[in-house]
Symmetry: none
Subunit: 124 residues, 2 copies
DNA sequence: AGTTTGGTCAACCATTTGGTTGAATATGCG
DNA sequence: CGCATATTCAACCAAATGGTTGACCAAACT
């Protein structure tokens, strides 16, 4: 079924899905929303509460996350519940690892990265 | 030292570096460039060759990838060599994997931090 | 020295993005 | 019914993105 006219990496590289997933992740508000949904499903209004931003703006962010497949939204009554859907994330993560040819997880590198972030923030 | 006023995941969520890495990955041309550099280091002109796009456009893409830390560029003679730098990818990948395993999230601390940020911003 | 080659810069353009506000659409409650 | 709550829609705006072209600079070839 898969035509081999172009190399294997091509399909992964050109995928529109990866476009939307990575674009969705490239915003700190949306990453914060994902982190909040990690704890529990939430209604749109509750998602919006900690942010200094209109409800409509958060609604747009949620639409972007939904189109990327990173969350799902189910309307029960008059409240719309948002649920994390880690599968899209996992797919992109797997793609990155296969692509980057590095070892599955290097936690040391991650902690160094975090410490750099925090000390950089202290200097501000 | 690393201050633990807010939870560890927060720095990952708010990091500007993740912004630039994910934004850089959210473009198929740039992902294709990364895949090409996976095979070998390349000169800018050779990177541009397979694309139906001006050299200047590719040059911009390479600047974006460089700022994201995903590649490095070294000028030898009059040709500028591009080299894949998988470390930035690794950090982002590890961040993403955090969503596969359900780590606890401290939402209260997140809200407190946002409030601090906002009042600090008002004073500026 | 003169010319080609490798690459960036600057100005411009169309489209997208991330936000706003105010009106609209459901849904639930007294 | 009449009103409050939850969420989206529509129009708008400023800034960022992804591309173009032509001028420009630096290194190499003859």
């Amino acid at each position: 079924m898969v035509d081999q006219t172009f190399p294997l990496w091509f399909s992964g590289v050109m995928s529109d899905d990866l476009d939307t997933v990575f674009a969705a992740l490239a915003d700190p508000t949306r990453r914060a929303i994902l982190a909040m949904l990690l704890e529990d499903d939430m209604a749109v209004t509750d998602v919006a509460e900690p942010f200094e931003m209109s409800l409509a703006a958060i609604s747009k962010h949620l639409t972007i996350l939904t189109r990327a497949g990173l969350i799902s939204q189910e309307k029960r009554g008059r409240v719309k519940w948002c649920k994390l859907e880690p599968d899209a994330l996992r797919a992109a993560s797997v793609w990155m690892q296969g692509f980057g040819q590095f070892e599955p997880v290097n936690l040391d590198a991650f902690e160094r990265f975090l410490e750099n972030q925090l000390s950089a923030g202290d200097e501000a």
